[in-house]
Each structure stands twice: as C-alpha cells, then as structure tokens.
C-alpha cells in the first residue's frame, strides 16, 4: 500500500526556485560584495525578525508542495493498486484531522454548537418526538466534552495555559542551545555568550531571530493545542475548518509571489539591458512595448487573458487527470499572466541604470579592448545591476500576494477550488452581508495575509538598505 507521488507543475517550479535560491546563496557566499551585503541584512534586526516569520510561512508552503495520491483500499489483493483521484499534500496528511472533520455549515471559532438554529427532533422523557428549533451540537467541535458543554471555557483556558508553558520552555531550550553554540564558537564562557546574544552583539542579529521565534511559538502553541478538538477559527459555509483553509492559502500566495517573478525576471532583465545598452531603434522598440503595455489598465488586461485561458481549459478536460492538476495549471497561468503584465516597472528601472552604467569608464575600457558586447553585458553590466534586481524581487513579492487577493475577489483569480486568501475574502463578501454576520473567515484570512505581507515588506526594506549603494553611504 504505497502512495503515488504527484509532481504538479507548480511544485516543480517551486522546488526549482528553492534550488535556485540555494545556488544563489552559494554564489553570493563566494562574491565578497554580495556577501557583505547579505551580512548587512543579517545585522538588521527587524529584517531578521521578518525573515524568521517568512521562513515559517515558506516551510508551510513547501510542506504543501509535496503532493501525492493516496491509495484506495483494494477490494481484492491481486488487483493493481488504485489511487484516489484526490491529490493530497504532506501538509494535508499532517493536518488530516483539520481536513476531514467537516461540520454541516457555519460555526463560530471555538464553538461547540452551530451558528444557526435548526429544527432538531428531540425525544422527551415520555418517548414522544418534538421538533425543537435550537443551535445543533457540532459533530466535531468540542465533541470530547460530551454533554458537559459548560466545561468549554475551562478546557480552552487550561489548554492555552499548558501550551504557553510548553512554548516558553521550548524558547528557553532553543535560546540555551544557541548560547552554548555561540560560547563554543567564540570560546567564551556561556554567561557572556548569553549576554552577547541578548544585546545582539553578534554578527547576525540572533536576538531578533530568537525574539520572533518566541513570538511565533507563543502564538502557534495555543492554536495547535486547540485545533485538535475545536475549530479555532470556526468553519465556513460548507463546514470546512477555516484554520485549514488559511494554512492552505499560504502556498497559493507563495506560488503567486515567487513563480511570477520567474516570469518577469528574464523578460525585465533581458529587455532592460538590451534597451539601455544598445539604445537606438532597439531602445525605441522596447520602450514602445512597455509603454503600451503599461498604459492598458492592468486589471482589464489580466481579466481578458484569464477569461481566454479559462475557455481553453474548459474545452480541453482531457488534458487533466485530476481536478487538482487543472486548478494548478490555472494557478500557473495566472502567474504567467501577472508576470507578463508586471515586468515593465523593473525593465524601466534596469534600462535607466544600464544607460548610466554604459557611460562609466570601466565599460569604455572594456570597449577599448574590443571585448564583445555580450561579454560586456554579462561581465560588467549584469553584476552591477544585481542589487536592483534583488531589491525589486523582494519588494514585488508582497505586491503580487495582494494582487492575487484582489483578482480572486473580482473573480478572475485562481480556480474556485483552489484555496487562497483571495477566494476566502471573496466568500466573505456574502458572509459579511448575512445576519448574524460571519466575520471569522475574513478575520483569519486578513490576519495571516497581513503577517505574510508585513514580514515580506520589512525584509524588503532591510534588503534595500543593505544593497542600495546610495543608502549605504548615508
């Protein structure tokens, strides 16, 4: 009974990106200017705290990018193994209780009963059946309490307290291990190492990392402790746990934020450098292209492209073995479309910088040696643009995550079956208009997306400060 691994297109790209990041990290560690810049990022406290938060999001996303199809129970042992048409991920496996325990419909966070009254048939003492309108008991939320629903508050409080104690202990252990490692590396007694760690007197701002790890542990521990027996963020219209949806949305956001840059980067870098270096008609053509592209309203262009793509996908159902594959392709297509429309800003920036660089004397010195143009581009211009590219990449990330939410809200975003911050917010539109209002989907999606984008923005600031030569001077 083995599983069948499934490699979705987006998975392949994500792992390719991970590989690329590792390769880039290796390359930067061998290039002193880049290494120095990354060291500056490492010393930046808010930057490192944000990076820690972001790393946790990335881990969730990566877990959610290992897909497989679970086997179906065979009726007879000699049959070839059959697999479910449902594609699951490692995260789904870990969060199986969250995924499988579906309620009937809406329920509030930590509730034991549903959010709306229903007619329930109650058998009274006499054995007669009455129809009573009441809030029905949830199938899973607080089921372990049995009849003793009044115990809920005490139970929740107890779990939160226990979880916080565990979290605190964990932080202390991690900090202690860190201090011991530091002490061993710098050959100092460990109380001094603790003091250095606390004051941030280290090469990398480890105190910020530990601080944000601590904050994360204190937040995550109670959520994890409660989510096994309650719906911490409630359930949505079809009774699915909102906490599970939020976790699943992280991957979608990361795919949109990262894979899109894979599309924009080559276009922006190639066209920007060509326009700036060769000028003349090449420059006119490229400028004309991006001026035209950026004067069409972005949403309009994206809507048209998405609708066309949807038609293609709908008319070719035979291309896809599972619904997940179809949704995945649609996600990728959205990345492609977003990428095609958002390269203009970076391209313009790189063109301007190349125009400046090509007049620099070291480029002219290379020209005086008769060095071939392509070699000048690769050796002299591209490396000196890298700081701009890195800054733009990190800054664009948060913008793309937000634009996914907007597009899905408008209805031209990801596939409706794909869980994303955008689809959650889109659903919340109807829920907020309900009476009584259902607020938890929106609140959960909002706070997670906020944390992700804020972390990305803070890290982007740190990266910009470290890489921007002008900022370094000031």
């Amino acid at each position: 009974m083995s599983i069948q691994p499934v490699l979705l297109w987006s998975d392949a790209l994500i792992w390719l990106l991970v590989l690329g990041v590792v390769a880039f990290g290796w390359a930067s560690s061998r290039t002193p200017p880049l290494r120095a810049a990354w060291r500056r990022v490492g010393r930046n406290r808010p930057g490192m705290a944000a990076a820690t938060v972001l790393l946790v999001f990335v881990l969730i996303g990566l877990l959610d990018s290992l897909h497989y199809r679970p086997p179906l129970a065979n009726r007879t042992p000699d049959q070839p193994a059959a697999y479910s048409i449902e594609v699951l991920s490692a995260l789904d496996a870990l969060a199986a209780p969250l995924r499988t325990r579906m309620e009937k419909t809406y329920s509030a966070p930590l509730a034991t009963r549903a959010y709306a009254k229903e007619s329930i048939e109650v058998r009274d003492a006499g054995g007669a059946v009455h129809a009573v309108r009441d809030f029905p008991r949830l199938a899973f939320g607080g089921a372990h309490l049995g009849e003793d629903e009044a115990q809920r508050d005490a139970d929740v409080l107890g779990r939160v307290l226990a979880a916080e104690v565990v979290a605190l202990a964990l932080i202390l252990v991690v900090s202690g291990v860190g201090a011991v490692l530091l002490a061993r590396r710098q050959a100092i007694p460990w109380p001094q190492a603790v003091r250095r760690l606390w004051r941030g007197d280290t090469d990398i701002a480890w105190n910020a990392v530990l601080f944000s790890l601590g904050a994360l542990a204190l937040t995550a521990a109670p959520l994890l402790a409660l989510c096994v027996d309650y719906h911490v963020f409630g359930t949505d219209k079809v009774g699915q746990d909102v906490f599970y949806q939020v976790l699943k949305s992280v991957r979608t956001a990361l795919v949109i934020g990262l894979v899109t840059t894979l599309v924009t980067l080559p276009i922006a870098v190639a066209l920007g450098i060509l326009a700036g270096y060769w000028r003349g008609w090449v420059d006119d053509l490229i400028q004309y292209l991006y001026t035209t592209l950026s004067s069409i309203p972005g949403v309009l262009l994206i809507a048209a492209a998405v609708l066309m793509m949807q038609v293609v996908i709908d008319t070719h159902p035979q291309w896809f073995a599972t619904a997940a594959e179809r949704a995945d392709l649609r996600l990728l297509a959205l990345c492609l479309i977003l990428g095609m429309t958002s390269w203009t800003g970076l391209c313009r920036l790189l063109r301007g910088e190349t125009l400046k660089l090509r007049e620099l004397e070291y480029i002219q010195a290379a020209q005086a040696f008769g060095v071939a143009d392509l070699r000048i581009l690769a050796r002299h211009i591209l490396p000196n643009l890298m700081h701009l590219v890195i800054i733009a990449l990190v800054m664009d990330f948060s913008g793309l995550v937000l634009s996914e939410a907007v597009l899905s809200y408008v209805g031209i975003g990801v596939d409706p079956t794909t869980i994303s911050f955008g689809t959650m917010i889109n659903n919340a539109r109807m829920e907020l208009a309900r009476e009584p209002m259902v607020w938890w989907s929106l609140a959960a999606a909002f706070s997670f997306m906020f944390a992700l984008v804020l972390a990305a923005n803070v890290l982007a600031d740190a990266v910009r400060d470290a890489f921007d030569p002008r900022a370094a001077v000031a």
Binding site: T31, P32, P33, L360, E361, Y362, Q364, A365, A366, Q367, A368, F369, G370, V371, A372, R375, R379, H380, P383, N384, A474
Partner: protein
C-alpha cells in the same frame, strides 16, 4: 600669535577644537579633527591647506555646527563675536549661520535648489537675516547680484539654476553668502570645480568683496596656487592636526615642516623636468589607527625615535610662524627651486605613430516628436595632430572644449563624423569593428576617475586579464597569472593585489591598476584622460613618475589630455591648445608655454595661479566659453578676446607657422 593685534579686530578664535565620527554600534568615536587652534582677524584670509581626508572640511563644518549625522563635536572652544558657538542653542545658531558667518561650497551645481529661482533663494536669506520683505528683498537681491558681477542681473533674478553656467552659479552662491552680511566667510574649495579662467574671475571677486567689507575669510583648499593668490596666513593640516602655520611670505620662502616641504616638492613644474618628482611614501594614517607620536612620522624622511614616542608641541619661530615638529631646527629650510627655463632636449625627429587629420565629431541635436535633427553640437571640429613614438603630446583646454571627445574618437570609442586617423600608417576611421580589434592592442586609454574606471565586482586579477582575454594574448592559466604578477610589479603594486577587489585600494593605487590594465596588451599609444585630476598632489606625483618611467622603459607614446599646465610643463614634449572643438595653437612645449602666441593660450597661462610669490598680472577673460552648439561667427574666441577686430568677427583665421613645429590660428598672432 605674538603679532600685535587689537582685540576688537579678532573675529574668530578657535581653541583645541576636536570633532569625530561615530563608528559602529559600540558608541566608538573616531577623531577626525584633533586639537585645532587658530585665530582669524577681520579682513584677513586664513587658508587651511591639506590633502583630502586631513580634516579641513570637517573643521569648517564644525565651526558652523553643520556636521553630518555621524559627526560629533568632542570639545574645544569656538569664540565668534563674543560667544562660544559650541555652547549656543540650535535656535541661536541659526542666526549665526548666514548672518554671522556664511559658507560657500565646492560644487555650485548641487548647492542651489533647482526648483527655486535665484531671486527666491537669495530672498530667503534676506528675509531671515536682514528682516527685509516685499520689494525691498528684490531690490537688495539685485544689488547683491550686481555686486558679484553677474551680467544682466535683473533677468537672472527670475531664472532657475539650470539656466546658469557653473561660474554664474558660483557667483550666485557668493551673493547668497553675502546676503546676510556675514563678518566671516568660509569658502570650502570654492573654485575646485571651475576652469582656470573662471577660477581667476571668482578669486578676484572674493578678494574684492573681502577688501570692501572687511570680512574675515577661511579658505579651505588643496591648491597651493590658490593659497598663493588669496591667503595672508596659511595653516597646513595633516591627519586632523594643524602642523604648521605661517604668514604667506614665510610659508612660500621658508616652510619648516617636512610635510610642507614634501607638498612643494611633489608639485610638477618645469624645474622638475627630466627628473622624478618627490613623492610622499605611504598614506595618511586611517582615523582608527592614529599613531601616538607625530602623525607624519611614518612618512617622514627625518623620522627619529622620539617622533614615534610623543607628539611634538608647537614651536614659535616668530613673525606668526609656528610649527609642530621635533626636528624642524635640524632640517634645513627648503628653498624653492628657481623656476628658470629648463633646458629642453631638442626635438628628435621621430617617426610618426599617430596622425590625426581634420577629425570631426558632431552630435546631432534632436527635437520634437519625430526627433528631427535641428542642429549639431560640434564637439570636435577639425582637429589635426601628430604624435611620434615615445613622445608625449598634451591636449590642453578648459572643460567642454572637446578634448576628451577627441581622445575617445581617436580610439573609436565614439564614432567620428569625419576626418581621418592613422595609427602606424593604417587608417582607423571607417574600419569595421572586427578589423579594428587587432589594432586595439596598439592603442589604449587611461581614464580620469579611478573610482569609475574599475568594475567593483571583479578582482584586480580579472580586471588585468580582461584585455589579454579579449585580444587573445597569451594562454589562460599560469602564463597569464605570471603576466599579471609582472604587470603589478611594473606599476608598483604587491603581487597579492590580484586577488583583491578595487574598493580595497586608494585612488592612487586604483589609477596604478588602470595603468597596469592598459599595459597588459602592450600598446604603443596610450590616451591619458586627465589621469591625475582626481588625485592629491603627492599621489599625482607618484602617478606622473610612473608614467614617465614607463615611457622611458617601454617607449610609449602618450596623448595626455589635461587642463593642468604644471603637469604639461613637467611631462609633455608637444602641446596642442583646444578651444571650442578646434586647436588654436600647437607646438613644442617650450614654444607654447614660454612664448604663447594665441591670446587664449596667453590668458589661460596667466590665469593659472602659481604656487609662489611672483605676482604676475592675470589676463582677465570676460564671460565664459560659448556653447559648441552655437559657436560664434568668425574666430570662435573673438567675443572674449581682448584683441578682437572686425576681421575676427567675420572670418576664422588660418593656421600660421612660427617655426617648424609652432602653429597658431589667430589673425593677430
């Protein structure tokens, strides 16, 4: 110090001023100015002289308390008009800045706000410090602009900085500084960014204004020539300390500090021709590692044990001359060599390596939607040159005269519009790029700015190997590594420099790397585009020595583009003077520099401030260089020429020969 002075004359009294820069997170402060003391009387000019990084600008900014964010005043007293500036509140300080003392900055282009009119910017000062308002502001601003000699002052009031030339902007800056009627003017390298003829105008203006208003002036400069022309007293700064202070006459005749001696000896001029210039070995110590004893000890030829142990105190030599040196008494006062006419070896008839004939570079001016060409900037307009093997031809002119463009057009870094260039008998113009590549081996270029001419992302070894790679010289691997080691030795850099990055080197060392990069392909001709103008005097001397010794050992020909006549005098065999895209005079160096024929050459030479006491008359040129997009009719120089006649306005003068080599384009020569 002991000169008799009336107390009410004393304008500024600085005692033991110390300032530093905060470094790192540990609250550590690196001292940049350490115990500077001086007095300044009304109507007097004190020049603070020193090389870059010695703390002279930091001193000036501390006086005004205009320090950058990391700067800290660490102690001392600054008595100005009866109050200690370092203890004033920020609000009180505001009325001192501009009102009590005003500052003129080095770069006029960035010191004016580009979105405000000139009148508005001067008016701001008038409103703040003179309490004027309404029409009185405009009237006073007009007076000020007229006082600084700005032509057409009424119209200039309503103009924006971009409509003014560099010299005009500096005049506006001076008018702004004067608007608050300050008693002390701090001028931080006020003419460094300007051409010599404009520099002469601005220096005259500052001097006139100072005499008229009895202002004190603190002049900060690295140029001994400017000091000679302007200062009454001179303070020499080194590594954050004043090491010698003397009245002008004593400073130029009998300086006592070894550093001052070295500064004079490093200046290139004709007296030094034919021998190596003196250089100061080593570098200014970094702020983080100041020696405990004399700060100059490591570079001083007269160093003793006690120099390293304790810092020398002041010794008063009388007549306002004091010096900080343990051994000044044992060191003979340097007497400046008599700048007599050096004997020039007669010009050897050498086979011509480079022949340039009627070279033209015109840049089209495009306007409008369809980018039609509406005119041409004639950057280079018919330049003819000849350069023999192993000789140096200096191409001299003010900024914007097209000398750099001409140099680049010869190397085909800019496509020439017309004319021909022959290198070793082969025509270069019109050659396709592929055919040009083998010829690139023979001609190379050294650029002006050593900070922009090396790719910061490549190691020095990679930079040196680039030319060899591109032109397929030698095999990659050990052979090339050996070649790189040899090149580094040739330019006086350690072999381990190959593995390091350009940012680890100082300006002078970077220029050595740039020279080594060029030598890697063993060229016959090197175009040097102001290779020393971004360097300090002592470093300039090192680079000039290097170039000279390379020429002697390798037989290189240099086309030396410069505006510095002292360098020309020291290094060049032949000179060509350019004005507005054309050569107006050319000949052997003694012909052009000793007996100039063209009025422009005469004016240029007289405008160069000489670092000595000889007060030659300066030929003052009116106005500024016209735009090469609209050159004047007839002789280009006639609007500024003191000898212009009707003929000059109508026809461009033909070339006239005065000797085999000396040729001049002037009707009146």
């Amino acid at each position: 110090m002991n000169a008799p002075m009336k107390n009410d004359d004393l304008l500024l009294r600085v005692r033991d001023l110390r300032m530093g820069f905060a470094a790192g997170r540990g609250g550590q402060v690196l001292t940049a100015v350490d115990g500077v003391s001086f007095d300044l009387r009304a109507g007097e000019t004190l020049a603070l002289l020193g090389e870059s990084g010695c703390g002279k600008s930091a001193t000036a900014l501390s006086l005004l308390r205009l320090l950058p964010p990391a700067g800290r005043v660490l102690g001392g007293e600054v008595d100005f008009a009866g109050s200690d500036l370092l203890r004033l509140s920020e609000a009180e300080m505001r009325s001192v800045r501009g009102g009590g003392m005003a500052m003129i900055f080095q770069e006029p282009a960035t010191s004016l706000n580009p979105v405000l009119t000139v009148g508005r910017q001067i008016g701001e000062v008038l409103e703040r410090h003179r309490g004027l308002s309404g029409t009185a502001v405009a009237a006073r601003a007009l007076e000020l602009l007229q006082a600084v000699g700005l032509s057409d002052a009424e119209r200039r009031l309503g103009e924006y900085p971009f409509q003014l030339s560099g010299g005009m902007k500096q005049r506006v800056m001076i008018a702004m500084a004067l608007a608050g009627e300050p008693r002390l003017l701090i001028a931080d390298e006020p003419t460094t960014a300007l051409d010599v003829t404009i520099q002469a105008q601005i220096l005259d203006l500052l001097r006139g204004l100072q005499d008229e208003r009895r202002m004190g002036m603190l002049l900060i400069t690295h140029d001994l020539g400017v000091v000679a022309r302007m200062a009454q007293r001179v303070g020499v700064m080194y590594a954050g300390e004043i090491v010698e202070e003397a009245p002008r006459e004593i400073f130029f005749t009998a300086p006592r500090h070894p550093y001052t001696h070295k500064l004079f000896a490093a200046l290139p001029d004709v007296a030094a021709r034919g021998r190596a210039l003196e250089t100061i070995p080593g570098q200014v110590p970094p702020l983080s590692a100041m020696p405990a004893g004399c700060r100059f000890a490591d570079r001083c030829p007269h160093v003793e044990v006690r120099c390293r142990e304790r810092s020398p105190g002041w010794t008063d030599l009388g007549g306002g001359h004091r010096v900080r040196c343990h051994r000044f008494a044992e060191i003979a006062p340097a007497h400046r060599g008599d700048p007599g006419v050096a004997v020039m070896p007669p010009a050897m008839p050498t086979p011509s390596l480079l022949t340039v004939d009627a070279l033209k570079v015109h840049f089209p001016i495009r306007r409008g939607l369809l980018r039609q060409t509406v005119g041409h900037v004639k950057a280079v307009d018919g330049v003819s040159l000849e350069l023999g093997r192993g000789r140096t031809l200096a191409l001299v002119g003010e900024s914007g005269c097209g000398k750099t463009t001409a140099g680049k057009a010869i190397l085909r870094l800019i496509e020439p519009t017309g004319g021909s260039v022959h290198l070793d008998g082969r025509e270069l113009t019109g050659l396709p790029r592929a055919a040009l590549r083998p010829l690139r081996r023979q001609m190379q270029m050294v650029f002006q700015d050593p900070f922009a001419s090396l790719n910061p992302r490549l190691t020095v070894g990679d930079i040196l190997a680039e030319g060899m790679q591109a032109l397929a010289i030698g095999d990659a691997g050990p052979e090339r590594a050996a070649a790189i080691a040899r090149l580094l030795g040739q330019v006086g850099l350690p072999v381990d420099a190959a593995g390091r990055y350009p940012h680890e080197f100082s300006g002078g060392q970077r220029q050595r790397i740039a020279i080594a990069r060029v030598l890697a392909v063993q060229p016959d001709l090197i175009v040097c585009d102001e290779p020393t103008s971004a360097l300090d005097v002592s470093v300039q001397a090192q680079i000039l020595n290097l170039l000279k010794s390379l020429q002697e050992s390798l037989g290189l020909a240099f086309l030396f583009i410069t505006h510095n006549f002292a360098v020309v005098d020291y290094l060049a065999h032949d000179v060509a003077v350019m004005y507005l895209g054309r050569i107006v005079e050319r000949g052997r160096v003694d012909e052009v520099l000793r007996a100039p024929r063209h009025p422009y050459t005469q004016a240029l030479l007289s405008a160069v401030p000489s670092p000595g006491l000889d007060d030659r008359p300066v030929i003052r040129l009116a106005g500024e260089t016209p735009s090469p997009a609209k050159p004047p009719s007839g002789c280009h120089f006639h609007p500024r020429c003191p000898r212009a006649s009707e003929l000059c306005r109508t026809s461009y003068p033909d070339e006239r020969s005065f000797s085999v080599s000396h040729r001049v384009n002037c009707h009146h020569a």
